[in-house]
């Protein structure tokens, strides 16, 4: 039983790390700040969320699981606030959104 939960937790962590990879790839390859924010928030929200979930499944204690939930919520709040503030200020400062040049 414990090995089954371990496997499940590890699988969640692997998928989470894949989201981090996608986020970093987006950070490097996307053309402007707004699209990069879009890529990054995937890593923050889903990547860390899945890793937290994986760790919670493995820990097997309710207190730890709640703590991990709190960590995820805090990172969510931080990421959402940061993304919104950066995007709003960038827009206010007149950084133009990228458009495809034909």
């Amino acid at each position: 039983m414990s090995s089954a939960t371990d496997m499940f937790g590890a699988a969640l962590a692997v998928v989470g790390v894949l989201f981090f990879l996608a986020g970093t790839l987006g950070l490097l390859r996307f053309p402007d700040i707004y699209t990069r924010i879009h890529a990054l928030t995937k890593a923050d929200n889903l990547g860390l969320g899945l890793i937290c979930l994986g760790a919670a499944v493995q820990s097997g204690s309710l207190m730890t699981a709640l703590k991990l939930l709190l960590i995820w919520i805090l990172v969510l709040v931080a990421a959402a606030t940061g993304a919104s503030l950066i995007a709003q200020t960038a827009h206010g400062r007149g950084i133009p959104p990228w458009t495809r040049q034909e």
Binding site: A13, F20, L27, L28, A55, I71, L85
Partner: protein
């Protein structure tokens, strides 16, 4: 299982190494702070995985403090030090 987690931590460290490129390239300050924010999240993830590998739940608390304080840097950046195109005027206003 531990080996798998170590590989995952290694991949996350690689993320930081590659993310350094964005800090180097910019072009705007906002892009760099974005990379910094990603570093913060990656660090939280690394700490969580290390806590599992080393079987020390105390490191979840270190991750919690990081998660709590990660908002501070970006707020400080946006409200205080975003290089402003007409910063000259603001400097005069402030003095």
């Amino acid at each position: 299982m531990t080996t798998l987690y170590l590989v995952l931590v290694g991949v996350l460290m690689g993320n930081i190494a590659v993310g350094l490129l964005r800090i180097l390239r910019g072009p705007t300050a906002a892009d760099r702070i974005q990379a910094g924010q990603l570093f913060g999240t990656v660090t939280v993830a690394i700490l969580l995985l290390l806590a599992i590998i080393l079987e020390k739940p105390i490191y979840f608390d270190v991750a919690l403090v990081f998660a709590l304080l990660s908002v501070l840097a970006v707020v400080a950046f946006v409200t205080r030090s975003w290089p402003h195109p007409d910063a000259k005027d603001q400097d005069e206003q402030r003095d």
